[in-house]
Symmetry: D3
Subunit: 280 residues, 6 copies
């Protein structure tokens, strides 16, 4: 069961999406459909996958017209088969037709992410490793896409540059080494944030550990290197495998013993799940 | 060479994306990088494809910090190979690092769309058919994604519900037939818009033609049905093939003689093109 | 009966108008009127004309205070006489008084446009010509003002620069002729838009027809020139008379056989219809 | 010489107007006009009147494209004749064409208001009476329209419900009389605001004077009644004539000796001044 | 009993404050508290003072979640003792916890202002002088803070630079004297605003009176100077004592006979009143 | 030397503050000051303290009028004495006068916070304890106020509910104990965030340590209890003293050995530092 979605910008996002899709008015619908016509329909999975975004789709219709009700039959995070009914919809025909595309664009995309995440998570089942996302999300949709990752069984890496510390190679070079970089961050950052350091070899790992890093990123390492790194760190810090993980054999990576595998492709190489709105 | 991009909401979109990614501040960078440090680097293709969004990426940095300059080496729409340098970047290190992810997220996504479109366009080269997009775009990014389709050599279908008329089955049913639906639309719509009607068989095509439809959509027809439809219409209206075209053999579809093939997958089943920012 | 109004920016427009009129508070009303006072009243026509904007006025009060109800007695587009009651209003006295001016400013202006349009439409009754508007509307109010034109019996020309193509003399000169201009537009524009070309003489008309123009604008032509142009075009394209039409004898223009007469004065030379809110 | 214009929402108003007019892009111009084409032109008066809004028009182009320069040849408030050149414009052809309509819509409307105001002001020249506006302005444009009134030689009444006190009949009835209404307002309102009371007869005038009203509105009075009222008040308060003043003989009203005549028609019954952009 | 609060930007202010405090989600609460948990609690005064902002706090919760109800037990402006219950709150536990800090931050601050104002007002009880605020308010909160001053028994000076005229020394110098400054203001300002002039000595007071100033500010005068100024003005204009009044013996100032004492410290040297949300 | 300020909403905050203060125009200044007048002046400390916000004040003027330049003579975080000049200002007189109040309101408030923080920091000098802020900030100004705390030598606690985990008593009760609460948080929260638990006694501390809490808040404990708690924890977690710390003897608290003391009063019981703009 996925965790709750909270996103204080959701209504603005949806209003913006509706404005983008409707322009100055849905002329075809306003012309053809009588104002008092009412429709009933369902949201139908046309492929198998993990559904995500039903409450978002419901909000699309609610903001367009409070008289439309979309009632989910499954929860976000549910695995669905082709032909499954995901939700019932009922309301003024005009509003259902006008809101359809915006609702589906969101629902299909989020479900695509949840589906892809579930595949990754399932591929490492039984290991102690957790699949997490990155900041490679669609501009404007990050909170929703990270929610979709959770619905697919993954975890979230930091949401933005202020709620997580990640010291990368450029930071290290500019600061004059890992030790100094960590020291500087500790002076400025809230004490409530962990410090993660990107490393490429054991020497860097040792320096990071000595500096008190909480999380060590193993960046673009081979399986063998990762295995050694994990053994060397030996629980003194959390470990995260990173670097084109979308194209790797995730089970092999997990079996190196890393705590986390972060995968950009969860959110930036996604096929929308095919879902359609079918009228009765 | 792609057509010009104009999008009056671009700055708002970028500011919103930067806010989403930066939160209350890029703590790592502010801590590690001195305020007066300056960096030079390049945008590098790490895979082959069609690039799109360089001016968008430049605008990301310009809005974050006018002292950063991103100078493209190629134009949007250019085919690039792995290892090609796409642009030079120069400016305050802090701003380059803080804006990097937002710029790449946009650039990679748009390049992914342009790349996918180019593949589709190339697959039907030599035919008179044009590949066009749909409204299955990412909420908030439609104008950019349709620009990416043009950069890939495709054309645009309507941008929203008010700048194009498309009479679908639900409209037809509600109006009581194609003839009445077209009549109603003609009364309300500006005379500057063409009228497109979705059809599934020859009877509907005949009714649409008689009603004066300008464009006839051939929805979910077999190759054989499309071929017959095109011959039957015989230039009396434009023709558009539609319905899961992302999974079809496009050359076969084009050879039916349709004027347009509209493909939702151009924008909703996209793998971001791998592009990275490399410091010197 | 007028067509439906849909305008996704209406609430923002109204909130902005209320903020403009209320400032930091309606001091007079807050001082004099008890919080629990309730009023009943009517909207009264103080002149004859065509009413437009009752649902807009209702929305003004609804956004200010959901406890105010404005119930129209007539529909938008109705012809009303001096003394006619247009709507009943009921609710907290403070809110009725505070919202009055904003509601009336919108209602009176839209009714003024509908009234002026009706006069133009009536003046050519019996002809096949349609009166349409232009982009000479009040900044911020275009969708509402074009709705008012429809309520007055007119039709709409394009809403903006992206949902209609109009190739004017400057475009023709820059492109190097009508033929090339049309060719360029066809390459960029969605295939769902018609192409209109502004012409001043028969030579241009011939070039436009040859290029495949869908609509030919007859700009600033004399009645005689228009008559000849219409005869020459002979149904191969739609025709639109344009150029200071607000000052012309419209029946004479219509009798040249043009399909459309576009009139900027419908929206930029308007006297607000006198409507007042009368308490009981 | 008109007073300075300051309006902190001007840029938002213009951006909104440009978005409304441009939609997703000026397809015709982007297609036909090369990106590097540059144009020179003038703003030309096609009718006589008082010009207002040149700096607003300049700002329209500046916000669309900083490379466009619009240089006024006359100041706002200048009387112009048919054929007068009002300003020179120079810049990228695309931007000039795309911004033209929005700039002219604002400029023509404001000039129409200034022109109408000047007529009213001139009609009472030699008297001590001042013409002022009302809150019957176009929603969203109030600050600009009140600036246009000043450019025409008129003065401004209050801008909104919080920067001026006007006790009307409904306030009087609800408060239980003028005396109590004034007392309540004085308790709540900042001491920096004058108090105006609407009156219909001498008894009300006496009560308002006794309550300490600073301004007395003479509402819908005959010329004879106004003359008596002014004599009776005898300078103990300012006087303002009100009530359909747009249809009255203003000189006769002014000769009653009132200090101010407020006229809603200055802003809600306006014909845009004909101004065009002519390319060289 | 305090006057009514009206503030058309309140919802935007609250949404902004909630967004600032919630970020991308209240992770702790979403993790620990079940979605269907419901809580009951009270707002409790932990110090004595004057409460202000209960309707604002209620609005915070209403905008976050309409299922939360906050029911005041006292009115804004009420004096409360340590331990007094100010309001009852009931609703979904998650929403109560997530909105708590934003609601309290507003409520405590406004109550702090009301409390400080009440002290000032009480200190001059029995005199005819009125305590008023200034523009030294927190950016973004002015309307609320001026409401808090009214709840504490004070009055409001002008809300902004357009709803009140205050000619200060720099204005006087630039205009070339008080007489000319007043003349210039009278030409531009709406006739509905009073004119206040800042003075430092009797000569300036005489010039201001002669120019027709409505209010005379006695700036940074000694008690003796103020006493003389008031006697000299003798009711020909309102008088206002100003200049570090937050540190003065207000009763002594009031006993000079001034009409108003304006105090910046009412809003810029404030200790939040200690109020907490206690669950049952 | 204080750390860098980055705040992506700063411009919006300032524009909003200017709009609030200017309303529809600074009538006094526009009337009295010629458009071409230029002024020179300084920002002057009228009391001793720590200055903060000079770049914010500079931005106020820059956004109002790019021709105004404010050049700091000291850096944010500098201790200043009464009479010290903080910055030079130069530019059009109108803009300097119109922006003065908004700039000072921000500068004075931030300097007040920095001053109060410095006092707290100095009072525990020589200890290893760090003073940090809370979320008891002014709605809308949090990022600025937390910057002011840093300028005063303090550190920042979490900025909002999503970039820090703080499990309070209500969370513990709802989850059924500290152990379960920590477990639930760990499942949902990004692994980049530390987990802080509020405790009131040693039993809770033990449970928190066992659950793996990173930070332990000692809430409302006596000095003796804190001392025992710190000794008991013995470095297994960070420790934070909390609970009305604004009224405590901070040195005594620091000497218990806690790592952090969080003080709400740093931001919600602040006296603006007296700073004025003096013209030359």
């Amino acid at each position: 069961m996925p965790e709750a979605l909270y996103f204080n910008g959701l209504d603005d996002l949806i209003r913006n999406a509706l404005a983008e899709d409707i322009g100055t008015g849905d002329i075809t619908t306003l012309s053809c459909i009588p104002e008092d016509a009412v429709s009933t329909g369902v949201l139908l999975a046309k492929d198998e996958g993990v559904v995500c975004g039903l409450s978002v789709a419901a909000r699309v219709f609610a903001l367009l017209d409070p008289h439309v009700t979309l009632t989910p039959r499954v929860e976000d995070g549910a695995a669905v088969a082709k032909g499954d009914i995901l939700a019932d919809i009922q309301g003024p025909s005009r509003s259902v037709l006008t809101g359809e595309r915006t609702a589906l664009n969101l629902l299909q995309r989020l479900s695509g992410i949840a589906t892809r995440t579930r595949l990754a998570v399932d591929s490492i089942s039984g290991t102690k490793t957790k699949i997490v996302d990155t900041r490679k999300t669609t501009p404007g949709l990050r909170v929703l896409e990270k929610y979709a990752v959770r619905c697919g069984g993954g975890g979230n890496h930091r949401f933005n540059l202020s709620d997580g510390i990640l010291i990368k190679d450029n930071h290290i070079v500019a600061a004059g080494g890992i030790t100094e970089a960590v020291r500087r961050v500790r002076r400025l950052a809230p004490h409530t944030l962990k410090i993660e350091v990107e490393t490429e070899n054991l020497a860097q790992i040792d320096e990071a550990l000595a500096a008190g890093a909480d999380i060590i990123m193993l960046d673009n390492m081979s399986l063998e290197e990762m295995r050694k790194a994990v053994a060397h760190i030996a629980g003194r810090a959390l470990t995260e495998a990173s670097g084109n993980m979308g194209d790797k054999d995730l089970r092999q990576v997990a079996e190196t013993g890393v705590d986390f595998i972060s995968i950009g492709a969860l959110t930036n190489a996604v096929r929308a799940l095919d879902i359609s709105l079918r009228f009765r």
